[in-house]
Amino acid sequence: MNELLIKNACVIDPLRGINAETMDIAIRDGRIVEEVSGAAEVIDAHGALTLPGGIDSHTHICGTKVNFGRYMSPEDMRAGRTPRRGPLHATSGYSVPTTYGNSYRYSVMGYTTLLEGAMAPLEARHTHEEFTYTPLQDTMANVLFDGNWGVMEAIRDGDIKRVAAIIAWTLRAVKGFGVKLTNPGGTEAWQWGKNVSCIRDPVPYFEVTPAEIIRSVVEANELLHLPHSVHLHCNNLGTPGNYTCTLGSLGLIPDLNRKRQTLYATHVQFHAYGGSGWRDFCSKSEPIARFVNMRPQIVMDMGQVMFGKTTTMTADGPMEFNLYRLHHDKWSNHDVELETGSGIIPVIYRRKNLVNSIMWAIGLELALLTKSPWQCLLTTDNPNGAPFVRYPEIIALLMSKRYRDAEFATVHPDTAARVPLPAIERELDWYEIAVMTRAGQAKALGIQDLGKGHLGPGAEADIAIYPLRIDEVDPSTDYRKVIEAFGRTEYTIKRGRVVARRGECLVDGSNATFWVRPKVSDAYDMGKDPDFIEKFDRYYTVRMRNYPVQEEYLNRNRCIETEAAI
């Protein structure tokens, strides 16, 4: 029996409605309990801010595409190297660190759970292998269905149940967690070097539109009773005027789930652009936020851009090619048979660049204009908008008008005429930040009942204690202290064990992987469906028996079974 008692913690636990109460937290064998014995080890938090462990609901940390970002970037790798030290392995990289680099740096910031935003099913085994070497966080992966031939054919045939059945078979086979659509239809078109312009533009040959894909997959997702909603990267990422496409996509979504949103729209900053070209490029954060404010069925994440170097990587192959034509640096692309694709290019976001300055403002505006913090979560779409190590700065920007103004004074001078940011007075409070960095994620991912994102009895003892007393620090003026504190916990506790202390990781951990197995009737078991099997054998280059990811690849296996309605 392993017991730990955290005393005098100033707890903000939004899922339980607790806002800055000083209390003790008892932990036994990795879970939070009502009380522990007198033999428990004691940590005195001395009134420091204590939150559930951070959760990143959209990040790119593991898998084929991420690893290719490393592979092609020795110049990024040498930008952040640490040696092997005690139980810690060597790390390399700044914008796309090695798996250990990601894990240690997230841990130091108090993050204990990560969702890999995009996993191609055919290459899922790779993602799981890297999860094993991401030891200090629990992990889960969204599975890409944006260009899935079987799904598109079923949609064309009007058979939503078959869509659900294919998703169920695939999630189970690849040990995936959620359903991801990246530029739905566009990734298939890109395998011909084409794209779809918006949601009404049919996909070549398959003759279904992105709108049909989004609607059908959302319905199928709910038939399967998955913990998470569909996770959508809208069409047209990064193009001027794309906000109308984004609004059109969000407008497709009915409210189908009482416990959570029906659609998670990711990195919306990249989808909130006005203008007819780069010359009149401007922010359209206001119409997007207004729209989301009226629709509880939508949750989004920011996709904040921060100035500096990074590497962009997404399943959205055509978008990356367009970016490459703008930057003309290196460009990688990787199309995956019958399923999806991906692209990678390095970028530098510059303050002196008007477009980049506007992008920076839009992310902040979305967070500040969305009334409920539960509906706009904090991300950079790591590493697309910026590496996750920039999160503390984003928190400070959201909490301090003064900091925003100081930063705004350094961006391109024409930015003011193109964005509403300077007029926004709102400063988020500690509670709202706690929602946007853990509680909101747990709710949106549907994992609060699994003991994630809160500190109630039975919860996993994933806890972050920040070296900060909220009764002493005014974030509006002391934003430097906010940045420092969120960058380096006093303690990060994972499954009841202190894994990081004051910027140093202490142990080599052992992560758990969450995945979903929807239980479907025999009639909808694609593993027995002759047509599915025949097409698989004819068009894939891997045998169907060799496709599923074996449970050997899951370090700590956390299977979530759902009762599907098919």
Partner: protein, 427 residues
């Protein structure tokens, strides 16, 4: 007993549709595999147990003794080299990286003598590629450049290109054009629709000329480039631009000839240029069945695909300096661990001279050319035959190999883990 859907541990095609017939724990027949794969499954003579050099001969030692010897030797070295890795599973490669980190050695894989230049090129300009099935289902034009799949990757043509029907090509042989570019008329050239014969060392110039022609700057190009007429270059450029989906596969004929990674860079830049006109991809014909896995493992664990020097604790990467051939030729290491490869069969003489001078431990199932250079050899199970593990196909698709036989041999991973555990105890 017949094992279906077995995975062939020979070349980078990593065919996973092999049927292996086993009788009395012996492979008696292999179906679907090419000749190379069949030979591999039929098993060569293996070493029975670990051996230690004893004067001019060998003496048998136990696994414990061999592992202890290996750990001690590597621990006492100032610059140990851990080389090979392409002929083993990913799980063993992971242990290898941890070991290199712990003992502060250099870890390198066989890429440094095959597709290392491709990686250097990708690091300069990126890599527009795809999985093999995308080509099978869509490509109406395939170019083999400096590669001869009939010899080296026999089933590449039947599974993915020349003879492989796909979703959008019902009759691949008729609907798909194949161009072969090489310095000599290879067997693959004989089944091509167009053969471009280049003078040795002329690939770079031809690629540059094609890039210019695709941009419409034909007038600058001399009448012939490295033995290829301008007319043929224009015809090839037009075939490329006219294709709906083109795929380039290149081999060591491009990576290991004059200019090395600049050749590959130029080929990639040609493909990027063509991507402005139509769909085009490019990929390397990787040799060993899991050389790509070795690159992947090294990359997620160290940040670099091969040639990683941990002497100073942090990972330092500089092919040409931190790669096995360079280190051996310059005599810059003082002990070596060889896993899953046979450098003595491929490395230049200067490298072998140094290998003969330093303590060498080899982990390999078979006696091979490197055996003559090693002090200890530790036999292990063969991944894909009597060991299970992960391998990455040449296009990055990871596949778990199957076990077709059961033997008492430990896997590479087990042997390496035992060595690593001893080393951890000592440090």
């Amino acid at each position: 007993m017949i094992v279906k859907d077995a995975v062939c541990p020979f070349c980078g095609c990593l065919c996973d549709d092999i049927e292996v017939e086993v009788e009395g724990n012996r492979v008696v027949a292999v179906a679907n595999a090419c000749e190379l794969g069949t030979t591999k499954f039929m098993c060569e003579e293996r070493l029975k147990g670990p051996i230690l050099r004893d004067g001019d001969g060998w003496k048998e030692i136990t696994y414990d003794e061999a592992i202890r010897y290996a750990a001690d030797t590597l621990l006492s070295a100032e610059r140990p080299l851990l080389y090979g890795w392409s002929g083993t599973h990913g799980e063993a490669q992971c242990v290898g990286v941890h070991m290199a980190e712990l003992i502060r050695g250099v870890i390198d894989n066989t890429s440094s003598v095959c597709h290392g230049p491709s990686i250097l090129a990708i690091q300069e300009v990126g890599h527009p590629g795809c999985t093999l099935g995308v080509v099978k289902n869509r490509a109406d034009l395939v170019i083999y450049w400096g590669s001869n799949p009939i010899d080296a990757h026999p089933r590449h043509l039947s599974r993915y290109t020349r003879y492989a029907d796909g979703f959008f090509l019902e009759n691949a042989f008729r609907d798909r054009k194949v161009i072969v570019v090489d310095i000599r008329r290879t067997q693959t050239a004989n089944i091509a629709d167009e053969f471009v014969q280049i003078k040795p060392g002329g690939d770079y110039a031809v690629l540059s000329a094609l890039r210019a022609i695709v941009q419409g700057k034909t007038e600058t190009i001399p009448r012939t480039v490295a033995g290829v007429t301008r007319e043929q270059l224009v015809r090839v450029a037009n075939l490329c631009k006219g294709a709906k989906f083109g795929a380039v596969y290149f081999g060591v004929g491009l990576t290991m000839t004059r200019g090395k990674y600049k050749n590959i860079r130029n080929a990639i830049e040609l493909v990027s240029e063509l991507s402005r006109h139509t769909k085009f991809t490019i990929s390397a014909m990787r040799g060993h069945y899991n050389v790509y896995g070795s690159n992947e493992v090294n990359t997620w664990m160290t940040g670099y695909p091969f040639g990683i020097d941990f002497s100073r604790g942090i990972a330092f990467y500089n092919p040409g300096e931190t790669t096995a051939v360079d280190i051996l030729a310059r005599k810059e290491c003082d002990a070596a661990l060889i896993v899953g490869s046979d450098p003595a069969a491929h490395f230049p003489r200067r490298c072998l001279e140094h290998l003969a001078d330093i303590p060498v431990i080899q982990i390999d199932p078979y006696p091979n050319a490197t055996t003559a250079f090693c002090n200890v050899q530790i036999p292990v199970a063969v991944t894909g035959i009597d060991a299970v593990g992960t391998a990455y196909r040449m296009d990055g698709v990871p596949i778990r190999t199957r076990r077709v036989l059961s033997t008492d041999y430990p896997s590479d991973e087990e042997v390496l883990l035992r060595m690593y555990t001893l080393m951890q105890g000592a440090r």
